[in-house]
């Protein structure tokens, strides 16, 4: 099937070359980090995780979001999703590739990475995270590939894919739950120490993932002859709508508990994010714009007139997506580290080089996504036409 990927028009190749250039630049920036250490990042003794881990967390969500098309289609036989399930699965694959790359670029000693397997530590959440992430990646590759191949040959997918598909559903929930457990099981970090963190992660994942999928559907419609189906997109947008509302609701619960109880160890972090703390407020404008974006997006999506508007829908989805990225990507990690356990305030901002490396990882993910989507859409075109 891969031969499809090497046949494309000018636009396709321009895009691939563009991605390759970004990857190349990112790689050069990474090599410098590899040889000189993480000193090139904006991270510090107090804020020991930064942009890489933040984007990792966000993308785990996007990957898990793919399950929002898998469940209706495979569990509830929702036929309208027939055409886009493969898109959801391949989006998960690309996101997971980025997740794993982000973990690797974040390691201080990446060459010793396999120590996680050589000395398995069942008490460490990172161990389980590695298991579920790789498991989910494997499942999605196998399922997506087999189902697409069957479609191309106009036969039914092999029977053994069915149990794998069912298995992928708990895995999707699992990757984001375990990723939340990385944070919420740490005794000293009041901001993360909340049982609602995993549900909140899932809610924002189920908003961001499908929102991105809708945007991708628009792109596919524009550049290929394959039509994912307006009705499928509408159903997806409802999923985005309720998920983002749930996410905002969970956040408000958080705000209530923290401010009403007034326990300083928990409050100071939110205070820092929303209003600034002891004069430090770098993230305040970001956080507010994030929440406003999500809230406005939710309003757009909840009103049928606006949701069904062909022009407005992608705008609303982009708002939700960017809002969720700010919430999880910028606020969630920095918020946990500021103030530090000793209540010192050290602010964090990624350096230019850190951002270049991050873009390189994103470009790699988009390259994988482009190739997989090229396969999927081409096969669908062939079969449909």
């Amino acid at each position: 099937m891969l031969e499809i990927a090497v046949k494309g028009n000018r636009n396709y190749w321009m895009w691939i070359i563009f991605l390759l250039i970004v990857i190349g630049i990112g790689k050069i920036a990474y090599l410098d980090q590899f040889f000189n250490g993480l000193m090139i990042t904006g991270m510090s003794r107090d804020v020991s995780w930064g942009f890489y881990i933040a984007n990792f967390t966000f993308l785990v969500g996007v990957a898990a979001g793919g399950v929002m098309v898998v469940i209706p289609y495979y569990l509830h036989d929702y036929e309208k999703f027939h055409r886009i399930t493969i898109l959801g699965e391949f989006l998960a694959v690309a996101s997971l590739v980025m997740c794993l790359l982000f973990i690797i670029v974040d390691l201080g000693q990446p060459v010793r990475m396999l120590n996680v397997l050589l000395y398995p530590s069942p008490k460490s959440m990172l161990f389980y995270d590695m298991l579920v992430l790789n498991g989910y990646l494997f499942l999605n590759i196998v399922i997506g590939w087999k189902v697409l191949e069957a479609e191309r040959n106009q036969v039914k997918p092999p029977a053994w894919t069915k149990p794998l598909i069912y298995l992928s559903i708990p895995f999707a929930i699992g990757i984001h739950t375990v990723t939340a457990y990385l944070y919420c099981g740490l005794p000293g970090r009041g901001f993360w120490l909340t049982a609602i963190l995993a549900p909140r992660f899932l809610a924002s994942a189920f908003a961001a993932g499908p929102a991105f999928l809708i945007i991708l559907c628009y792109i596919i419609r524009k550049f290929t002859k394959f039509d994912p189906g307006w009705e499928a997109m509408q159903t997806l947008s409802k999923i985005v709508c309720y998920a983002v509302i749930a996410n905002l609701f969970f956040f408000l619960c958080e705000v209530f508990v923290v401010y009403y109880s007034g326990i300083p160890g928990h409050k100071t972090h939110l205070q820092y994010l929303l209003f600034g703390y002891h004069g430090y407020n770098a993230l305040v404008p970001w956080m507010w714009s994030g929440f406003i974006l999500m809230a406005v997006g939710a309003v757009f999506l909840v009103i049928p007139k606006l949701r069904t508007n062909y022009i407005l829908l992608p705008v609303a989805c982009a708002m939700v997506f960017i809002g969720a990225w700010i919430d999880k990507g910028l606020g969630m990690i920095s918020g946990g580290f500021v103030p530090s356990p000793l209540h010192h305030v050290t602010e964090y901002a990624p350096t230019g080089q850190e951002i270049v490396i991050t873009l390189g990882v994103y470009a790699t993910g988009f390259l994988v996504l482009t190739i997989l989507y090229k396969l999927a859409t081409q096969v669908k075109e062939e079969v449909g036409g």
Binding site: N36, M39, Q109, N115, V116, L118, S121, P187, P264, H343
Partner: protein
């Protein structure tokens, strides 16, 4: 123990390559034709033992000078880099500018309300504002860092010391997120240009690993007291918390003491006598 269970696991897991790698090492004793006995590994007869090492800091006896002395003794003899140190550009050309937020420290002085943020009090006894509180790794009984580490690079020894295996650390910094006391530092860069005089009795670290206080395990093994104890002019006492007759326990019996963030249940082994 560790070693054995690890091998067992690997065998069970059938990671053949690793099994092969370990196999020759296990035969060392047998392969020596001249020796009568098998090779053995042992502790020095002088080594100090404890069931659970702990520390008592008599805060009254500290002042800024002693605090400085303590940090200096620990840091120089453990080759902890000092990023204010002027780099020898001949030996280390092209050393880049320093980000001082990426500092490394094992034991240092804090004001009371930073060392004990949960005990902050408007009407706190005046003198507490000025006393230097020395903070370091607490060698927690229930150490969150040990639990978090995905490679067992951070682990708890039988005698309660939480140690780091710098050979094994992958630099994921999960332990730093897990430690509620900010006791850990990460080597964001090669520390060597910033070590004024390398102490030959202790290794330096490489870039990309986490480090922290090791309660001078290397000195206890030789029967010596930790550097901080020696530099503290009697303000720091290290001993066995499980032994009712130890100096530490006697101090704790006679004086009121506090520990950092006791409510988290980590059971720190460092006590502050105030």
């Amino acid at each position: 123990m560790m070693e054995k269970s690890r091998r067992c696991f690997l065998k069970v897991a059938g990671i053949a390559a690793i099994g092969l790698g370990a196999a020759p090492a296990m035969n060392f004793a047998a392969s020596d034709s001249h020796g009568s006995a098998a090779a053995e590994k042992a502790k020095s007869p002088d080594a100090l033992h404890a069931e659970r090492w702990g520390m008592a800091i008599i805060v009254k006896k500290l002042n800024d000078k002693i605090a400085k002395q303590i940090t200096h003794a620990c840091h120089t003899q453990h080759n902890v880099p000092d990023f204010t140190h002027e780099v020898d550009t001949q030996a280390f050309p092209n050393t880049r500018a320093v980000n001082h937020k990426q500092e490394i420290k094992w034991i240092w002085k804090e004001k009371f309300h930073y060392a004990f943020p949960d005990k902050e009090d408007e009407f706190l006894n005046e003198k507490f504002h000025h006393l230097p509180f020395m903070v370091t790794c607490n060698h927690c009984k229930n150490a969150p860092c040990v639990q978090a580490c995905p490679t067992q690079a951070t682990f708890k020894r039988e005698d309660g010391i939480v140690v780091m295996d710098y050979h094994r650390c992958i630099g994921c910094r999960f332990c730093m997120a897990a430690c509620p006391y900010g006791s850990r530092s990460f080597n964001f860069r090669d520390p060597r240009p910033f070590i004024a005089e390398t102490d030959p009795d202790f290794p330096t670290r490489s870039k990309g690993v986490v480090e922290k206080c090791n309660l001078c395990a290397e000195r206890l093994a030789k029967g010596e007291q930790p550097h901080c104890v020696e530099a503290s002019e009697g303000a720091i006492v290290v001993g066995d918390l499980e032994d009712p007759e130890s100096d530490v326990r006697k101090l704790l019996k006679e004086h009121y003491s506090i520990r950092r963030k006791q409510s988290l249940g980590t059971e720190p082994s460092v006590y502050y006598i105030v």
